[in-house]
Each structure stands twice: as C-alpha cells, then as structure tokens.
Subunit: 438 residues, 2 copies
C-alpha cells in the first residue's frame, strides 16, 4: 500500500481524552476514531490488526475442533426470561423495543441464544460433543467507558459454548479451551496467565481468567513469583488425548484474581506472592446444567433417558486484545507490533521521492516485495525524512527499509528493526530474497 | 469435515413459515435458524457461504482501490440530526436509549458516520480521492420481515462511500463501483442487471440498482428483451482509465425499476420490453454534496478555497445474496451452488461405513483431498444410501464422489455433477489428481 493513497490520519499531538498508552497510540496512529462514548470506528490500519488477531483466534478454535457459527447481535428478551437472567442483568444490558414494542436487547453474551439453537437441533447423545464458536460484536452499556477499545461499549468478542453428555466430558471440553487459549495468546507473543476466577453473572463451578500483567490493568491480581520467569509456549497437543495433566501443570503455580484471592488461605508464602495489575483477555467457565435445565436443553441418553446438557462457555476479547497488545508492546516512539499481528510486515521509506533514482529503486522494490506476497506499507509521500521516520516508528511495523540517495549510490538500503532499533546496510539486490525467506 | 461430527441440523419436512424456496432450503439444509422475526443465526454451513460471498465482495472492492474500515453498529442520533435525516427516517430505524438516556440508533446505513470521520481526517484536496468500504451488520426494523435472509431485519451489507473534489471525479468513482459491482456478481455466476433507479431516502441525482430476475423478486422491473440473452462478464479493466465508455455500454440497453419506468416515455417499443420480477442485490448512488454541505465536510482546494466533498454511496446486500443465489440456483432436490461460493468443493459419500474396505478407501481419499487443500464434506454417517444421496443433493455441493462396495471391487468410485446430474465412474487412483487440477 502506498502511504500517499492510504487513509491513515496520523495525529501529531497526544489526544487529551486518552488516559492510557494504547488508547493514545491507537488514536495517534490512525487506527481508530471514536464514534460515541466507548464506541469506535476501525480505520484501515486498525482493522488490519483486528483481523489478524481474529484470525489467530479462529485458527486455534478450528484446531481444537470447535465449529464457527454467527449469531445475531439483537436478541429477543423472552429467551433471557427463560434462563432467568433478563431481570438480573442490570443496566449494562442495552435494552431495546422494536416498532411492535417487543422487548429486544443487544447481546452482551450468548448463552441463551446458543442454548436455544442446540436444544432444537441436538436430540441424541450421539450428536455430542459439540463446541460452537462465533466472533461477533457485543454491547455492554458500561457506565464509564474508558481506555479506548480496552473498555468500550461495543466490542468484538469470540465466545463459544460446549455441550456434553456428562461432567467428565464437559471437563475435557473445558481443558481443550484451556489449551487453545494458551496457544492463542502465545502466538500473539502475549503472556496471559491463567488465574482461578469468579464466575460472576455467567454462573458455574469452575472458571479461569487469562490475565496479562500490565501497569494499566484494571484489576488487581495475585500470582506466584515464578510466573514472572515462566514462558508460556504454543505447544502442539493432541486434543483427543487426556489434557488433564497439561491443565494441572499450568494451574499448579498459584494465580488468582482479586475476587478469588484470600490472603488467609493463600497456599504460598507472602514473599513468593506477587501483587500486580492485570488485563483480562480471556475467560472460561464450566457451569454444568445452569442454562440447559431451565431452558429444557436435553438429549436422549444411551438408555433413552432425558439428560440435560453439560455446558461451558469461553470468551476472548478480540478488540480488547488489540489494546492489550499495545500495552505490552510499545516505547516512547510508538507501537512495536509482534510479527504475528502486525498490520504490514514491512515499512518502506523513500527518503527522497523527488529524486528519480530513489523513486525508481523504491517503486521497484515495492513491486517485487508485493509480488511475492509481502505486505508492505510504502511511504512515498512528499514529507521530510524526520516526519517519515516518526510516522513509521509510531505505526510500529516490525521492519523498516530506508532508501536514500547516499546509500543507493553504494547499492545499499538501510534496514531497521523496530523492536531493537538496530540498523544495518543491506545490498539492495539481496533484500527481496532475504524477506522472501523470513 | 466429517459429517458425523459436523453441526448440520437438516430438516426432512418443509418448514411451514417459509414462503419462498431460498428460505425453505436454507432452513432445511441447516444453514440458518431464526432467532426472532427477521433475525437469523448462521450455522456452520450457511456461514461458510456467507463468508465466501463476503470475500468476493471484498476482493473486488480492494481491486477497485477502495479501502476497508469497520464502523460500529450503534450510532449517535446527533450525527443524524446534522444531516437532517433523524426525524425523517421513520420506523425502520431502530432507535435506542442508553443508560444515560442518550439517543442512539442501530445503523441502517452509514453516510453520517463516514462523513463525520472524513471531515475530521481529510483537510486538503491532495488527500482525495478516497473510497472507504465496510462490511458490517445493519438493522432495518421492517414492519413485516419475510423471505428469510432476503428481507430480514438484521442483515450484512457492504457499504462504501466515495469522496472527491468535483463532480467529474465523483462520476469516475461511481463508474469504478459500477464496474466492481458487475464483476462481483458475475464472479458469483449471477446476472445482475444494472437498472436506472430512484434515489429514495439516500437522495441524489444518479442511481442504479443491480437486479437479478427471479419469480420471487419483490419488485417489478422493466428491461429490454435483449438483456435476457446478454451475458455479463467479469471483465478485467484498468480502474485508472476512462470508464465512461464501459458505463455507457452497460447502461445502453434499457432497464429500469418500477419507480423509474414511465410507460409514456419508455424509449423502446412495447414488444421489445420485458416486465419481470427482480431481486435487488446492489444499489449505487451519486448524491454530490447532500451530506457534506450540511455536515461541513470540506477540504481546502488547490487555491485554498473551501470545497464541500462530492460524495457517492454504494451498497451490496451480502446476506441477501446468499438467498438470491439459491433463488437462482436450485432444483426440486435442493440447492446447486456455483463453485465460487460453494461451502465445500466436494461431497464424499461412503455408502457402507460398516464395510472395512469402503471405510479405508473413503478415509484415505478424504485425507488425501484435504491434504491438498480441497474442502471436502465427508458423509461418514451410519445412514441409508437414500438418506445420504438426499442430504448431499439438498446441500448442493458442486461435485459428489460416491464410494460403495461394488464400484470399489472394480477400483472405481462414482462421480456425480450436482448441476447436471451426470454420473460417471472414475478410477479411484485418479480422483485426487483430477480434483487437484480443477
């Protein structure tokens, strides 16, 4: 993409409304614009990151055997009356009346809708297990939306729902998602610690939140000091195998959210305990028959008896992750994208577009890199070198290639790694090959 | 995908609520389920088609130079007051009050939001032209939602908006979309005739609807008889060239919607005129400064003067297209997907899963086809051959491969083309090669 044609409205000044770095940088880098309180439009650069995050989430769901569906944003109130949550949910639920005065709502979560679908479609234990996910916009009418996409009102969430015949099978489904979540966050270069968590308005018996430690985290979290030195790897596991040993391994080190941490019963000594701030990026729940029983979601069991479905639900904050990624990856100059979610792989800067040789070399390199499928953002604008360096650092693409008249005379271009700031000259004719391999 | 594990709730009976064939077949083939009136959940098979349609739309938008963004579903009423449409829009607009009693709405279209974004971001004629699209759920509170996804309340639409300095440049943007739309529908195997159309609540001077002729179409349309014999091809054009000759060529044959057709001034003789029913799948508008003037979306022109932006907007009904595709592609047995939008490329039927040789051959073929990246739906269920044939015809994948003990003994499997019904035996060991080439 040529920057001269790209819709990328950069801001020079820090917007006064942004209190945290990710919100500030997303506005400055032209990724988002606020539409109303807690509601954002995603501009081209931001949408590219959102889609890459979404795609990693999708791939790991698919790998685990979950199947993608898409439920609507607007739900009927009557389903929520069946589960008993309509009156309980409170003011965070955006309640709507349509032209026929029917009560509707903008879904904050989808336990009721999916249970309604499955109870009509799944009649026999032979159709189990099922795990259905969707990636859809949700709405929670936060009283004080803030921190940009980190605590917005309209937000993109991956949520899924598992249906099993009994508690043991449901725990296996829970373990699958536990593994999938560790893999998902690890692929984004994020260390998301699974913490024993409260089940809140979803209800249930067992729950883990996946928390990224960050100063700007909204909640207090507690964990064993050894978590700070532990890398979480995107291990490849057989989802049909017994995942309980893996689950025990990764829940063996103490970690708990504020609601679950009780100093008097904490199993580790105080000097081993770290208190930190956390950003919640995922949350998994096992809640048995809490929805299937009141809503009548039953199957015929092996002996013909009616069995209420054992369920779990699992959420990842896809739009929030974009903010969380920036909280975890930035410096004073701007964003530093991990390669797996970068909006473009490479930034190409032509320092002197008015110079025929520079333009020819930059155009040629841009064409060749694009032709082999590398996403390049090509700064061909008529701007000062300083403005171009600042813009490229702000946007935070992993690698920058810089073409100027001096280097070009020697057959070289400059390569800068955004994360380390290291610079080196590369022979111009080796560049395509080098990035084709990478 | 193994059908034994797939979430595909087929219906044997015709659902009584479905009046038209696409609605009936989408329910029977397990593509969608109604959540409330005019609001649907997309199940795995339906979502696959929706995503393929969406991807063709996206690729043709990208090819035309439009850039993808994503605006939220919930919009502030105040923006619509600026354009003057808030009071005018009527009961189809879903109006909402949030917890602070602020007036919001579920966007039925996005002229106001995009104009708000662009007026803040684009300050100079040098930043033009811009064409921004998004693919997002919309809501129109139809008084009588019907025909399934063809006239739903919550629906997926691609809409985009062009911004130019003057009328001539804006017409070029209009022509680009005209070309992109012909290409988009042609790639789906649909003949969508561009018809002179009324501008309705969007307003403006110039407008075309893209209509598919079908008995179940909702509106009456009029066109030159020669349209019936004319193929619309997905011609590859240079979007930077003068597109006016192409536009004139494809608007030269008479075609008009009900609102625009005046028998007394119709330019073609009555015996050359066809009256038919049409399904609208796209609509393009040029409306000049109708939004930019009241909303103050201006740029500095070449001489520093303030120039209001010349705008157009363009819509494709993505979810509606799934229904329209079925209206145009079905027989008594079910759906017949064009290859470009088929949910799976191939259906593989194992007639005798209990037979070891059949199972080994079918599993092996499924693995090999999947490994080379072909999407296969593999019917490995313990069902009668009749039920399997009926299910596969209903789902409508372009090609079926049928493995049974008799053919297998001769080293053959049966290949059936869904559209033509032609069947032939293929040597089992040639199948992978044949479909790898296709």
């Amino acid at each position: 993409m040529r920057l001269s044609q790209y819709f990328l409205p950069l801001l020079r000044e820090n917007p006064s409304e942004a209190q945290i770095v990710s919100h500030r940088l997303m506005l400055r880098a032209g990724m988002i614009r606020q539409s109303s309180a807690g509601i954002y439009s995603w501009l081209p650069l931001g949408l590219r990151v959102l889609r890459r995050v979404e795609q990693i989430v999708r791939e790991e769901q698919d790998r685990s055997g979950a199947q993608e569906i898409l439920m609507p944003t607007i739900q009927p109130a009557e389903l929520w009356r069946e589960s008993g949550r309509y009156e309980d949910y409170g003011k965070e639920m955006l309640r709507i009346r349509d032209r026929h005065d029917r009560e509707m709502l903008y879904g904050p979560t989808n336990e009721e809708v999916i249970t309604g679908i499955v109870r009509d479609a799944v009649k026999s234990y032979r159709d189990l297990p099922k795990n259905l996910y969707h990636i859809q916009w949700k709405f929670r009418d936060e009283v004080r939306p803030r921190f940009g996409v980190m605590r917005g009102r309209e937000f993109l969430m991956k949520d899924n729902y598992s249906f099993d015949l009994d508690a043991a099978a449901a725990k296996h489904s829970y373990n699958k998602m536990f593994v999938a979540y560790l893999r998902t966050f690890a692929r984004m270069g994020l260390k998301a610690i699974p913490m024993r968590a409260d089940t809140g308005p979803i209800g249930g018996d067992l729950s883990h939140e996946f928390q990224i430690l960050a100063e700007t985290g909204e909640s207090e979290v507690y964990c064993d000091r050894r978590w700070l030195e532990t890398d979480i790897l995107a291990e490849e596991l057989d989802y049909d195998s017994d995942l309980e040993p893996f689950f025990r391994q990764w829940t063996g080190l103490y970690a708990a959210t504020d609601e679950m941490h009780k100093p008097e019963s904490c199993p580790i000594p105080a000097d081993q305990l770290v208190t930190a701030r956390g950003i919640e990026v995922g949350h998994i729940f096992y809640f048995g028959t809490n929805y299937s029983k009141p809503m009548g979601a039953v199957v015929a069991g092996p002996n013909g008896e009616e069995v209420p479905l054992e369920m779990g639900s699992y959420g990842i904050g896809v739009s929030r992750l974009v903010g969380a990624l920036i909280e975890a990856n930035h410096d004073d100059a701007g964003i530093i994208w991990p390669e797996s979610v970068a909006p473009f792989r490479l930034g190409l800067i032509n320092l002197r577009p008015a110079d025929d040789k520079c333009r020819a070399a930059a155009d040629d390199l841009y064409g060749k890199l694009s032709n082999i499928g590398i996403d390049v953002l090509y700064d061909d604008r008529d701007e000062s070198p300083g403005a171009k360096f600042a813009a490229m650092d702000l946007i935070g693409l992993p690698d920058q290639l810089i073409i100027g008249p001096r280097g070009l005379a020697a057959g070289n271009i400059e390569h800068k790694r955004r994360r380390t700031g290291t610079r080196q000259d590369l022979p111009l004719d080796s560049v395509v090959q080098q990035f084709a391999r990478a």
